[in-house]
């Protein structure tokens, strides 16, 4: 391999990582949390910590939801059937301006609780791919840029790692922090290479239609919904503007199950509720496999007659379904999802150590040469990594501190939690730029305290102290508490090590990198 090529890859790896690293960390961090989104939801929605019902009555659910959706002139309503990860029936309806979500008892259809938080499924998960920037799909485009960059850095990282095989298992924990940082970066990069490349690639595949809009325009000119009908078997039926009752949903679900040879339903969607043109989609539960093909069966909502389905997917769509399933990780396989979670955290460590190594390898040189901008990068690295961790903790703490009312000071409660997240993140950036030399240590301390505070608040506000949750088998809540405590311990340990390093350093050295582990 020519040295010029290696040098060009090194340049690409260094600068692409620096420029896109902050965005990439945010996406990786949120994706990692989203692996356990339903479990975090249980933590954030205490009233939904119920036993899974022995039976499910879709008609009882419809008796609650359908009148509400008709009264609100909703375009559709839907229900996610209960599962081990989500014991309630999560039902929602969409109006022209908003989505209302209710958790229902699956057996009786009675409302257990309205959803007054976005939770992980409504915040961490969409943040992962949209960054909550919806104008012109800008968030998806930025996520796509990050995914492309990740793939490019995986390839360029392999090219520039001269001793990739010799140092494959080498992690030197030594006094020289730069050596340890680079080893940690290499180890997490090499061991996590297949996962990181796969997750970036499948992320791009999922949003293929956003990144390559021309495909639909050329193949389905003037009729974008034809793509959805052909690919997923879910044609849009327009409203007829004539009132009509909804036929019983129970027989429709039974018919769908009969056509699936007994497979369970995952979601039931009712379009144009209250209209003679209502249609009902019953989607299959795909949690027992990777491929996410829902084999939708479509019914006429007014008569209960089958319109189409189950849909037979083309080989292309089957491939897309498998690739998407690999990324979404919605399967019912706890060990695999934990491995995704750990791999996601390793990806976060990879990005953070990349930032650190950039700083450590240049700090003295830049200080001697009088190059400016190091403080900016230091602040960026702390704010982008520890900052978003702190913001996520602030989101959880706000969830436990805010009163359980629909609005607070005129703002929906759910968005107050998001404000807490944004304010905490901005404060973390401001702090990192104001105190770049000690920011790592100080924010580690705050993260350590924040994690413990979240666990304590969960106990005080719900009574679910960790041993009680474990004894009662509420593993989703106990798991979140345990991860918070483990994260706190790690953060406090890191802060202690950083403090020890700071004491050892010579404050007279102009190029020293205080506060950088």
């Amino acid at each position: 391999m020519s040295e010029a090529f290696r040098a060009s890859m090194n340049w690409l790896h260094t600068w692409a990582g620096l420029v896109v690293g902050a965005l990439l960390f945010a996406i990786f961090w949120m994706g990692t949390l989203a692996v356990f989104d339903r479990e975090i939801d249980r933590w954030m929605m205490p009233r939904t910590r119920v036993e899974q019902a022995a039976s499910v009555s879709i008609d009882a659910i419809a008796r609650t939801m359908h009148p509400l959706a008709v009264a609100a002139k909703a375009r559709r309503w839907g229900v996610q059937m209960p599962s081990a990860r989500q014991p309630t029936a999560r039902a929602y309806f969409d109006t022209a301006t908003e989505r209302r979500v209710l958790h229902l008892d699956p057996a009786t259809g009675t409302v257990i609780a309205p959803e007054r938080t976005l939770g992980a499924t409504g915040f961490f998960y969409p943040f992962h791919f949209s960054l909550f920037i919806h104008h012109w799909n800008l968030g998806e485009w930025l996520a796509g840029l990050a995914a492309m960059t990740m793939m490019a850095m995986c390839v360029s990282g392999v090219v520039i790692h001269r001793r990739i095989f010799v140092d494959f298992f080498t992690l030197r924990i030594v006094r020289k922090a730069q050596r340890t940082t680079l080893d940690l970066h290499n180890v997490t990069g090499v061991v996590g290479l297949p996962f990181n490349f796969l997750i970036a690639f499948t992320g791009l595949v999922i949003f293929m239609s956003v990144y390559l809009p021309g495909i639909r325009t050329v193949l389905y000119p003037g009729e974008p919904s034809a793509f959805v009908a052909e690919a997923y078997g879910t044609p849009r039926v327009p409203p007829l503007k004539q009132p009509a009752d909804l036929a019983p949903l129970g027989p429709m679900v039974e018919e769908a199950q009969r056509r699936w040879n007994g497979a369970a339903p995952a979601t039931v969607l009712v379009f144009n509720p209250g209209d003679r043109g209502a249609s009902v989609m019953v989607n299959q539960d795909t949690s027992s496999r990777v491929t996410m093909n829902a084999d939708t069966v479509l019914f006429d909502g007014a008569t209960g007659r089958v319109i189409a389905g189950p849909h037979r997917y083309s080989p292309t769509m089957m491939t897309l379904g498998y690739l998407s399933g690999m990324h979404y990780a919605w399967f019912r396989h706890t060990v695999l999802r934990w491995l995704y979670f750990v791999s996601g955290l390793a990806g976060c460590v990879l990005i953070a150590t990349g930032f650190l190594f950039w700083i450590q390898s240049r700090a003295k040189r830049h200080a001697k040469a009088g190059v400016r901008g190091m403080a900016l990068v230091r602040g960026l690295s702390v704010g982008a990594t520890l900052g978003i961790v702190l913001a996520s903790l602030a989101f959880l703490i706000a969830n436990r501190l805010l009163p359980d009312v629909p609005t607070i000071a005129g703002v929906p409660r759910a968005w107050m939690e998001v404000r807490a997240f944004c304010i905490a993140w901005l404060l973390a950036f401001a702090h990192a730029w104001l105190r770049p030399r000690t920011a790592w240590r100080e924010q580690s301390v705050v993260a350590g305290i924040g994690g413990v505070a979240a666990v304590l608040l969960n106990w005080l506000t719900t009574g679910d102290v960790l041993p009680v949750s474990m004894a009662a088998g509420r593993w989703s809540v106990a798991g979140v508490d345990l991860v918070l405590l483990a994260g706190s311990a790690t953060a406090l340990f890191a802060a202690r090590r950083l403090a020890a390093r700071e004491r050892l350093m010579d404050p007279g050295d102009p190029g020293l990198v205080r506060g950088v582990p």
């Binding site: 010799v166 494959f168 298992f169 924990i173 061991v191 297949p194 396989h333 695999l336 491995l339």
Partner: protein, 112 residues
Amino acid sequence: MIDALLLIAAWFSAFLGAALIALTNRAHRAAVGYAAETRHGGRGNGIFGGLSLVLTTVLAILRDGFGMGLLLAPLLIATGMATVIGILAVRPNLLHRRWTLLAMMKRIRPRQ
């Protein structure tokens, strides 16, 4: 129960494979406490290590089928490798044959 045993066996196979491959490296062998020059060269350990990783894949597929098994196997191998890296970094002598089933793999013993 069988699922749990298969999972443990798959992970241990991944760990063993990673350890054997790691010990093909002279520096790691020295760190673990073996003589750098072994009677059998690194090649044999590499082959056994590779076979062990293949076994992980087979066990993962047996447990979960091709769909999830092919996802599970590389992630188990990655965690096995991460464990070996961690041990080599902190307490390399834990990989010594007195402490691990590597004793059964008589590929790694000092030259007599």
